[in-house]
Symmetry: C2
């Protein structure tokens, strides 16, 4: 129940519906707030949920509004994220993001340059990779 | 003091320094969170502060994270804004935004298409126009 309590403080933008996708391991909610030329989605990960490794041809900006989660670039250690953190993901950099095992995680995801094309989805984050992020 | 209390719940992103500008009537704080191709600023208006009428050649998106404020397009009534509201400002539409008289107001400002050029600043919002917004 503590996770739900945490979320009550961090819901600013609409949570939206559950987003069904094979590119996420766990349950995620998505509400698109704007469309082109600058699509912004409010993304809410339930505890333990993360997305697969992926790349954005135009880059992406994460604006964290609540909860606790991780961002990891390929070949680097995961970074812990909480409300107020901003991640500037460069174009074509392989990465993943998602919630900690014990917390919801909410961020706005901004397509920095949507004209460059859509996300390239890759392999899932392994349990070992995810455990290592959570043990930092 | 109530305004400060309100703000303590709405400070998510860094508040930044006071932004000195002749295009604002009152005290505003600005922290740029990202740069090109998708500049995002965290803008915090003190109570009573609003900007002049202006236009964005590439449009702008406001993501309200705290407090109470207004958005008005030329020739239309002002809209009251609070946390969770999203305003999609079309390119070249004359408008202003700012805090209510009795509340701080915090929003993220996203340049939807920064490649189109910079803001065109116009005349100040008159006291009469501002009073009318606050009396809605």
């Amino acid at each position: 129940m503590s996770e739900v309590k945490d979320l009550s403080n961090s819901v600013i933008f609409p949570i939206g519906d559950v987003f069904e996708s094979n590119n996420f391991n766990g349950t995620v909610h998505l509400k698109m707030l704007t469309g082109k030329p600058c699509p912004i989605g409010n993304v809410t990960f339930e505890p333990g949920c993360r997305n697969n490794w992926h790349k954005h041809p135009g880059g992406q900006i994460l604006l964290v509004t609540g909860g606790k989660g991780y961002y990891q670039e390929w070949g680097k250690p995961a970074k812990k994220l909480h409300a107020g953190d901003v991640v500037n993901i460069p174009a074509d950099v392989k990465h993943w993001h998602g919630a900690a095992k014990d917390s919801w995680f909410v961020h706005l995801a901004v397509e920095a340059d949507a004209s460059k094309g859509s996300t390239e989805w890759l392999e899932p984050v392994s349990d070992e990779e995810y455990e290592r992020a959570n043990s930092n």
